[in-house]
Amino acid sequence: MVQASVVSRVIDSAEVLGRVGAAEDGAVLLFLGTVRNHAGGEPVEGMTYEAYESMATPVLAQIAHEAAGRLGTDRVVVVHRVGELAIGDVSVAIAVSSPHRAQAYDASRYVIEEIKKRLPVWKREHYTSGRSEWVEGVQPGRAPASSGAEGRAS
């Protein structure tokens, strides 16, 4: 039930959370990435997210599968939004669940960190001054060589 999607609509975080969880789970974790109102000391009023969608979707799925391998369950859901976002809007939602919290925290963290490293998504900050700029990103790398499609338990 590993699920990954790139959407242009508002992310319903409760709905994302509702897709994980099982009777054997003692830990259910939801991470939300949100648009903040400042960057480098400059007031920000919004953000434009752009994706190479036909690649971002499979890369996001790959990341989610790798996370599931670490988690030890298949209960990983990740949704990334693109388009025009306002302050406070959710840009990414990650929900995971597992019998114990350590694996849940680890898997959730893994998904967001890998998104930052290799998901082909870019964002443009719109400052209150009227100026806007592409956020300086990270040179992407390939998937970790040690991780197959199903990831690896750690």
């Binding site: 990334h80 998504v121 870019w122």
Partner: protein, 112 residues
């Protein structure tokens, strides 16, 4: 390509080269056409999101980057070794390109 097509291409009267498919063109040591895609900052830099590029057969990702950078401004402002994805998978500079490949130039990523 079947034998029929091969014979046809060998015996066809010499017509305009551009009408020949790229599949046949290797018989003449010709070229492959790939589609280069540009996103975000690269698209803004170049003023275009896609470009068909003709390369010699056997050309690599690095050859494509060199070809584009050699066109002068604004292409020369592309990095010497940009991240590139071929058919939606991250590729190495030495990877060989094939006709019809979708070659995306990936600016430093900033998701999340």
């Amino acid at each position: 390509m079947g034998i029929g097509a091969r014979l046809e291409s060998l015996t066809a009267p010499s017509g305009p080269v551009h009408l020949w498919s790229t599949e046949r063109s290797h018989l003449f040591g010709a070229s492959v056409s790939v589609q280069a895609l540009f996103f975000a900052a690269y698209r803004d830099l170049l003023g275009t999101s896609k470009l068909d590029v003709l390369l010699p057969e056997g050309a690599t990702v690095a050859d494509l980057v060199r070809e584009l950078r050699g066109r002068g401004a604004p292409f020369s402002a592309l990095p010497r070794e940009p991240a590139v994805a071929v058919n939606r998978t991250y590729a190495d500079p030495g990877d060989t390109l094939r006709a019809g490949d979708e070659v995306a130039f990936i600016p430093p990523v900033a998701g999340g």
